[in-house]
Symmetry: C2
Subunit: 191 residues, 2 copies
């Protein structure tokens, strides 16, 4: 039996992502976002939803660029901090002891210590309501060589990212492999 | 040292979600999607990116409605099947042995056996490239009572959803709690 929970923003699982931008003075800033996702394959695009009140909103509107930084578990404390404080008040990256690299492809910095970065150019801004969605074309993905497998392919297990759960406002690890895609469902296809 | 991987759609983690719609004849259909995410808090909205070639695309364009069905691990075989076959060729829900319920709020069906459903009305269609993003206002979330905790609150652990990893095209479980949000990062805030 299902119970109505009302109109709310519940979806499992959501990623724990750090968005980096330059502010008006060129100071690198970082914010944590869970409402981030791939939205198109050609061109490859990612969508990031932000409230106008955030410091990052103004930065993305002016610079038309951002980076999506995927953390591994060891950075959970810093990721949580980036979601608790505004870049208006403090240099969050400096406080967290992280190094920024200036992207040569887009007008935004990225975090050297994080294993994966997507460098993005804003190609569309969609007004929805309290949140605005910035659609960024992914011009390059860069990954730490230690997170690639023997064939040079990306490996989620080696990146070791984590999840944010909205209901208990906690971070969760990724568990073990459950099944192979495009394989486990084949028996139903053939019935 | 980071290696350039090129412009590609890589993000961790992505959810494993089933979108349900009615086709032109009123037949319920299900498709698996990973490019689904919350995009706004007020009104609460979810974005779903689809290629025009999918059967669901036409259904969503005509009916201006869909449901987001969150599966638990036990349904991984059916979820995989929904991503392998088109509703043009087969009644996928019937083949998978699942029951559909007609939403009374939106012009779309949902899956009775899945633990969570978001009932959505399409309020915006954003052309991006090969994919089009449908933005749906979430008019209600319904959850199985067994997935709620003692206080009637939603619980990800009880829902037991899973993840899709793009690099090895496999499904993964959600692991254990890593840290509490808005807590673990406090030490950096106070420094």
């Amino acid at each position: 039996m299902k119970r109505s929970m009302g109109a709310k923003t519940l979806l499992y699982p959501t990623p724990a992502i750090v968005i980096c931008t330059y502010d008006i003075d060129g100071k690198p800033n970082a914010m944590t976002a869970a409402w981030v996702g791939i939205v198109c394959s050609q061109p490859p695009c990612v969508g990031v939803s932000l409230r106008k009140a955030t410091y990052t909103y103004g930065a993305m509107e002016r610079r038309r660029a951002f980076t999506v930084n995927i953390p591994s578990e060891e950075f959970v404390e810093k990721v949580d901090f980036f979601g608790m404080t505004s870049g208006r008040d403090v240099n969050k990256l400096e406080r967290a002891g992280l190094t920024t690299v200036d992207s040569v492809l887009v007008d935004a910095p990225y975090i050297k210590e994080f294993p994966v970065v997507l460098e993005c150019k804003v190609i569309n801004i969609v007004e929805i309501g309290l949140h605005t969605q910035f659609i960024g074309e992914i011009v390059d993905v860069k990954m730490e060589e230690t997170t690639l497998d023997e064939d040079g392919a990306s490996s989620m297990k080696r990146v070791n990212p984590f999840i944010y759960a909205p209901d208990d406002r906690s971070y969760y690890s990724i568990g073990s492999k459950l099944a192979e895609g495009f394989t486990v469902g084949r028996s139903l296809k053939k019935e």
